[in-house]
């Protein structure tokens, strides 16, 4: 057994050097040369040129008190309050009374905030995502926010709608996944267009 243990120590040290250092570092080198911006997390900058986040990582568009800002499209609720150091979902089961209460209260808040009936509020607007950092909302959730954003910015809904369409991603290859609107990209475009 001693022989096997010694061989194991040497084998694992070798594996650590090759698989644990050489492989990931060479891959990092490759990624940094070929697609540096993607490899660094698809960071996006504001009109002023400062980095404001990643187009892949969702943000909360709320004021310091947590109230939604009407001039921005709102993301889905986040179980981790958009904390990039604490990703995860609520993990509440379908029979959880806590989940049922949260969904009901969010539905009425979203409906009144956007001035639409509760029946028009899509499910993704009232549920938390798996990552807590979902960058996307459904096109249906974007649609009910257009009038409110347009009013808050004093522009016509059709101008806002054009930007929504530009930020909408279809299904990959036409059938993989689901269509979504990248909220940070959309809000950045709004700021750029209307200041």
């Amino acid at each position: 057994m001693t022989r096997q243990l010694l061989a194991s120590v040497r084998a694992l040290l070798l594996a650590t050097v090759v698989l644990g250092l050489a492989y990931p570092l060479l891959m990092t080198g490759f990624a940094q040369v070929v697609v540096p911006s993607r490899a660094d997390g698809s960071l996006v900058t504001s009109a002023g040129g400062t980095v404001v986040g990643s187009s892949l990582i969702g943000q909360g568009f709320v004021d310091a008190d947590g109230a939604p800002l009407p001039q921005y499209f709102q993301s889905r609720p986040s179980a981790g309050d958009w904390d990039g150091a604490a990703s995860g979902g609520s993990n509440l089961g379908p029979s959880s009374p806590e989940l049922a209460d949260a969904v009901a209260s969010r539905r009425s808040e979203v409906a009144s905030f956007n001035g639409v009936p509760e029946s028009a509020v899509p499910d993704d607007a009232v549920t938390t995502s798996a990552s807590g950092l979902d960058p996307g909302i459904s096109p249906a959730y974007a649609a009910i926010q257009v009038d409110r954003v347009a009013a808050a910015r004093g522009v016509s809904p059709s101008e806002v709608q054009a930007l929504v369409s530009a930020a909408t991603h279809g299904r990959d290859l036409g059938f993989i996944g689901a269509p979504f609107v990248d909220v940070l990209d959309l809000n950045l475009a709004l700021d750029r267009a209307f200041g």
């Binding site: 194991s8 694992l12 644990g20 798996a130 990552s131 996944g177």
Partner: protein, 539 residues
């Protein structure tokens, strides 16, 4: 509709890949010649690559390699504050470090910790990802030893564990991982060494944007059916699963090797139809499972799901990750409908044989094939035989112990955990769903899956210890039994095929095997499923 197109594309890709890959794997484990880099590795490790091992020696190599792996990974985590690239994170707490070390060495990749707030880049790369490679290689080695047991006659030699592990890494896992990393980097998965940046968000708040060598780890995490996420949210995290097509690609990666191995098996035993029969059973069980989860999840609230993936891709991922021993998630299973969640649970309870983990799935299925042949033998009153080997009392004892091991771990573990306060304290949801969380945890650990009903607060000394034991026993007791069985089989001669031999490459046998898989599992777990997900689903 688009959901079924995704499944169709996946099946097409697997169909195209499994033949060349299956043939290649057969050559990897049967080729006479060593590659030059391999010879170098054998010299460093200090083993004679041309000396074959008896089954106890083969087993000792595998166990020693895994034991040292646990110690090394435990030390790395405990010492991370003193090592470079630790991102300023403190050493991992002992019970969590033990749990995580066992978890990655056993190919489970259960995660009681949250990656982004616990593990620095060095531990992720040089600790966790290394075990992602070698634990998968160990699974392949054990499988190959079992296949040699069927193949060989009158010998006590099963091959050389060091050679099998080395070749699995050098000729298979590493090249595939490099390709997969490149694809995922192009798809937007991050790959850098940044410790993360704090940014001021558009609304004026602040947000931490994490960094890390994620793509290189993600590649082997799926390919090796490991499943341990770089981040807490696993493949649902936008930096691990940035787009829907990348997520579908990850599903492909986790199914790739397990669905190609039946071809390898058929090649090695010299009868491709034997492999096809096994593949048929795996494919049937997988197809039913995907259909059931998709049906039960249709119209469910998207709680715990990402908009860009949508419902169908989330269900497909959930099916694939529990049918294999991966355990990565792109949606949170705890928030699934009771019956949808039950199917993911049942997938693992099947013993992860459809198609199962890398290596472990097929050796599990071959043991079940032995049981199926035995059942058929009882019906007609003949001594059962499989692939020319007689299955006597000793062989059947080993196979029976194998199929009893995991259920015993899962059911005893669950019973203890719901009986003691330290176990009950972990449940997030109440009532039957709380029981499902506990049952899921032990099922996942005992079967070396690693996914979770993640509401369970499992990063406590009780849960870390209990699940660590479940993972350890669930991995190595079956390995001991499989290698002992391989040794018994190799020592036998070959029985000639007669008119009374049950052909094991026909649909009749495939049907019998499917029935054995379902009945053995169904009867074992039905009572506890009735108390958990079924009770919740029917109330």
């Amino acid at each position: 509709m688009t959901g079924w197109l995704q499944v169709g594309l996946l099946v097409l890709a697997l169909g195209l890949a499994h033949k060349p890959l299956g043939d290649w794997m057969a050559r990897v484990f049967t080729a006479e010649k060593h590659w030059r880099v391999e010879k170098l590795a054998y010299r460093v490790v200090g083993v004679d690559a041309d000396a074959e091992q008896r089954w106890p020696t083969y087993l000792r190599s595998v166990l020693a390699f895994s034991l040292v792996g646990v110690l090394l990974l435990y030390s790395l985590q405990r010492l991370q504050a003193l090592l470079p690239l630790g991102n300023g994170m403190p050493g991992v707490e002992p019970s969590s470090a033990w749990n995580t070390a066992v978890s990655f060495v056993t190919n489970t990749n259960w995660q009681g910790y949250a990656g982004e707030s616990t593990m620095g880049h060095l531990v992720q790369m040089a600790g966790l990802a290394v075990q992602n490679f070698v634990s998968a290689a160990v699974g392949l080695a054990v499988l190959v030893a079992l296949v040699r047991g069927f193949l060989r006659r009158g010998t006590d030699r099963l091959g050389n564990a060091w050679v099998d592990i080395t070749r699995a890494v050098v000729r298979l896992l590493l090249p595939l991982a490099v390709v997969a990393t490149v694809v995922m980097v192009l798809g937007g998965v991050v790959q850098n060494l940044s410790a993360g940046t704090d940014v001021t968000t558009l609304a004026g708040g602040s947000q931490f944007v994490p960094g890390g060598p994620v793509a290189s780890q993600e590649a082997i995490k799926e390919l090796g059916t490991n499943g341990g996420g770089f981040f807490n949210a696993n493949s649902a995290h936008p930096f691990e699963g940035p787009t829907a097509w990348v997520s579908l690609f990850q599903v492909f990666l986790m199914l790739l090797i397990p669905f190609s191995l039946p071809r390898t098996f058929g090649r090695m035993v010299g009868d491709r139809k034997q492999g096809l029969a096994i593949l048929g059973v795996m494919g049937l069980l997988a197809a039913v499972s995907v259909s059931l989860i998709s049906t039960f999840q249709a119209g469910a609230l998207p709680e715990g799901q990402e908009v860009r993936f949508g419902g169908p891709l989330s269900s497909l991922f959930a099916a694939a990750t529990t049918l294999t021993s991966t355990g990565a998630v792109n949606s949170m299973h705890d928030s699934y409908t009771p019956l949808g969640g039950m199917v993911t649970l049942f997938n693992m309870m099947l013993g992860e044989v459809a198609p199962g983990g890398v290596g472990s799935g097929l050796y599990g299925m071959l043991v079940l094939a032995v049981v199926a042949v035995f059942v058929a033998g009882l019906m007609v009153g003949r001594t059962p035989e499989y692939l020319g080997k007689k299955l006597g009392r000793r062989e059947m004892t080993l196979a029976s112990l194998y199929i009893l091991t995991t259920p015993a771990i899962v059911l005893v573990g669950t019973a203890v955990a719901v009986a003691v306060p330290a176990g009950q304290a972990g449940m997030l949801n109440s009532g039957p769903h709380g029981l499902s969380e506990v049952l899921y945890a032990f099922t996942s650990a005992g079967n070396n899956n690693g996914s979770a009903f993640a509401g369970l607060s499992a990063n406590t000394p009780f849960w870390n210890t209990a699940l660590g034991l479940a993972m350890l026993l669930g991995r190595f007791v079956p390995i001991v039994l499989v290698l002992a069985l391989a040794g018994r089989l190799a020592a036998q001669g070959k029985v000639p095929v007669t008119a009374g031999t049950l052909p094991t490459h026909r649909p009749l046998f495939a049907g019998l095997l499917t029935a054995v898989v379902l009945v053995v599992v169904g009867l074992t777990y039905f009572p506890v499923l009735a108390l958990g997900p079924l009770a919740e689903g029917l109330s």
